[in-house]
Symmetry: C2
Subunit: 325 residues, 2 copies
C-alpha cells in the first residue's frame, strides 16, 4: 500500500513550479492553496464527480479517465465563457483492486498524464488535491474567471434568438455504444469523442458578448436545451435536418440511432448557445479561427416546449415537450 502523501507528491503534483503568471501564491503541501484572483473579474466555480462504472467504464484506459474527469469539469467553465485558471482534484482509489504496487503506479502514471496534459493545453493549474481510499471516484473542482458582468449564463435567451451548437453531436453516446460492443481502438473518432472529449473553452471565451445564453451538452441536446429554455423562459423550434452529426456516427449506428444519439445521448461536451441573428456570422468567424464549426439548429420562440422533432424520435418528443417552457 502506498501512503497518501507519496501518491499526491508523486503523481498529482509533479509540475508544482508555479509559473509567475499562474496566480498561485502557495501551491499544494499546505493546508490550503493560496490563489490570486484578477481584479475586475468574477470567479466561475464548478465541481464534477466522475464515478467508475457510472461515468466511465472500469476498464477505460487510465489516460482517458484522467483526461475525461477534468474535461467534463472544464466544460462547465466553457459554458460560462470563463478563462480557466485553477483546478483541484479529489482522487478516491481502492488500491486493493490492483494486482500489485507496480500496477497501481502504472495506472496512476497514465491517469496523471491524461489529467496534466489537458491542464497544460488549457492553461489550468492543478493547485491542490486530496487522495482517499474507496471506489474509484474523481472529484474535480475547476475555477475560472470572466470579466465582471460578461460571463455567459443559461438565462439570457429571448424569443427570436437563433439556437446553435459547436462541433458535432452524438459522438459521446455513439462512442459509448461502440465501447459496449467491444471496440477498443482509441483512434476511432467516436471512441475519441466519448473517452477524450475536448472542453470548448476557447469557444466559450470567443462567444462572450455574442451569445445571449449558453450551456454545455452533458445530459443530451434536448435535456440541456430544456435547462436553458427553463432558465431563459423561452420555447424552441429545432430543424432536425440541420443537426451536425459526429463523424462516423450515422455509418456506425444507422440514421435513427444517430439522430437519437445527437438529441438525447449526452456526453458530447459541445456548447449549446443562443444568439441574436445578427451575431451569427461574427460568432461563426470567431469560432472558425479556432477550427470549430458553429451550426444553427433552430430558433427560440415564445411558444411552450420544443417543436420540430419527428415523433418517431421518441425520447425527445415524449420527455421534453412539457407544458411549461
Amino acid at each position: 500500500m502506498l501512503a497518501e502523501f507519496d501518491l499526491i507528491r508523486r503523481y498529482l503534483m509533479p509540475s508544482q513550479t508555479p509559473l509567475p503568471a499562474d496566480g498561485v501564491a502557495l501551491g499544494g503541501g499546505d493546508d490550503a492553496a493560496l490563489l490570486v484572483p484578477k481584479a475586475g473579474h468574477q470567479l466561475a466555480v464548478s465541481v464534477d464527480t466522475s464515478v467508475v462504472d457510472v461515468h466511465f467504464p472500469h476498464d477505460a484506459p487510465a489516460f482517458a479517465v484522467g483526461h475525461r474527469s477534468l474535461a467534463v469539469a472544464l466544460s462547465d467553465l466553457a459554458a460560462m465563457g470563463a478563462d480557466p485558471r485553477w483546478c483541484f482534484m479529489a482522487l478516491t482509489l481502492d488500491q486493493r483492486t490492483f494486482a500489485n504496487d507496480h500496477a497501481i503506479h502504472a495506472w496512476l502514471e497514465a491517469f496523471a498524464k491524461g489529467f496534466h496534459t489537458l491542464c497544460q493545453r488549457q492553461a489550468t493549474t492543478l493547485a491542490g488535491g486530496d487522495v482517499t481510499s474507496g471506489a474509484l471516484t474523481i472529484g474535480v473542482t475547476v475555477m475560472g474567471e470572466a470579466p465582471t458582468g460578461h460571463a455567459l449564463t443559461r438565462a439570457g435567451a429571448t424569443p427570436g434568438d437563433m439556437i446553435a451548437v459547436t462541433g458535432a453531436l452524438g459522438g459521446g453516446a455513439g462512442g459509448l455504444a461502440l465501447w459496449q460492443r467491444g471496440e477498443r481502438d482509441l483512434q476511432h473518432p467516436l471512441l475519441r469523442r466519448y473517452l477524450l472529449p475536448e472542453p470548448r473553452l476557447a469557444a466559450g471565451v470567443a462567444l462572450r458578448g455574442l451569445a445571449s445564453a449558453a450551456i454545455d451538452i452533458s445530459d443530451g441536446l434536448l435535456a440541456d436545451l430544456g435547462h436553458l429554455r427553463k432558465a431563459s423562459g423561452v420555447g424552441a423550434t429545432l430543424d432536425m435536418t440541420s443537426l451536425p452529426l459526429a463523424e462516423a456516427l450515422e455509418s456506425s449506428l444507422g440514421r435513427d440511432a444517430a439522430c437519437n444519439a445527437a438529441l438525447s445521448g449526452g456526453d458530447d461536451y459541445e456548447l449549446l448557445v443562443t444568439l441574436p441573428a445578427e451575431n451569427v456570422a461574427s460568432a461563426q468567424r470567431a469560432l472558425g479561427k479556432l477550427g470549430l464549426p458553429l451550426t444553427v439548429i433552430g430558433q427560440c420562440s415564445d411558444t411552450l416546449g420544443v417543436k420540430g422533432i419527428a415523433p418517431n424520435l421518441g425520447t425527445g418528443w415524449q420527455h421534453f415537450n412539457e407544458g411549461a417552457p
Copy 2:
C-alpha cells in the same frame, strides 16, 4: 429512485436566496457559480473527501455526517487564518443502500441540516454542488479569503518560537474508540468531539499577525507537528505534562491511552501554531474572548526531530524522531 436535480434542489440548495453580502453573483442552477472575491485578498482553497467506513462509520447519524464532512474541510481554512466564504459539495450516494424513498429523504434531510447549520454558523455560503451515484462519499471544496500576505502557513516557524494548541487534544480518537465500543449517546463529550468537531475559524483569523506558522490537527499532533517542522525547517521539544487532554478522555481510556490519543490519534481539528514568546499572552487573550484556551506545549529548536516524548509512548517517539527536521 430520486432524480439528481430533485435531490440537489430539495436538500442541498434550500437557502439559495443569496445575501447581498455573500459574494454570490450567480448561485446553483447554472453551469458554474459566479463568485465575487474581495479586492486585496488572496483566496484560500482546499478540498476534502469523506468516505463512508474510512472517515466516518456507516451508521453515524446523518446530521453528524453532514456537519463533519464540512467541518474537516473548513478546518483547513482555519489553519490558514482565512475567513470562510463559499463551499461546494459533491455528494455521491448509493440509493440502493436505503430501504425505501422515505429512508432516503429522512437521511438527506438530517444530512443537509448538519451541513447547513454549520454553514450558517460559520458564515459560509453553499454555492454549488453535484450529486452522483455510488458509495457514500462527500467531497467538499471550501474557499476563504485572507488579506494578501497575511494568511498563516506551515512554513513560518523559527527556532525559539513557542508551540501551542487550541482547545483540547485526543477527543477525536477517544470518541472513535467509544463509538467502536458501542457508545451512542451524542451528548457524551468525546463522541461530540469525534462526530461534531468545530473548525477553529475565528481562532485562525484571530491568530493572523500573532502566529508564525499554523496547521490543523487532523492526522495527530505528532504527525501534523512533523508537517509543520518539515515546512519550517525546525525541530521541537515538547512538554508532555502540559498537553491539554479532552474532557473525559483520561477517565474513559486511562492515562497512557489518553496520551497516545492526544499525540497520535488525529481527528481533533484543533489548531497547532507556533508564535514568538512575546505574542503568547496577546494570542491567549484574543482566543480567550472566543472562549477557547491556547496552551503552550513546547518550543521550536534548531535540533533535529522531536524531544521530550517518553519512550513508552512508542508511536510518537519511533515514527517522528526522524533524522531530518
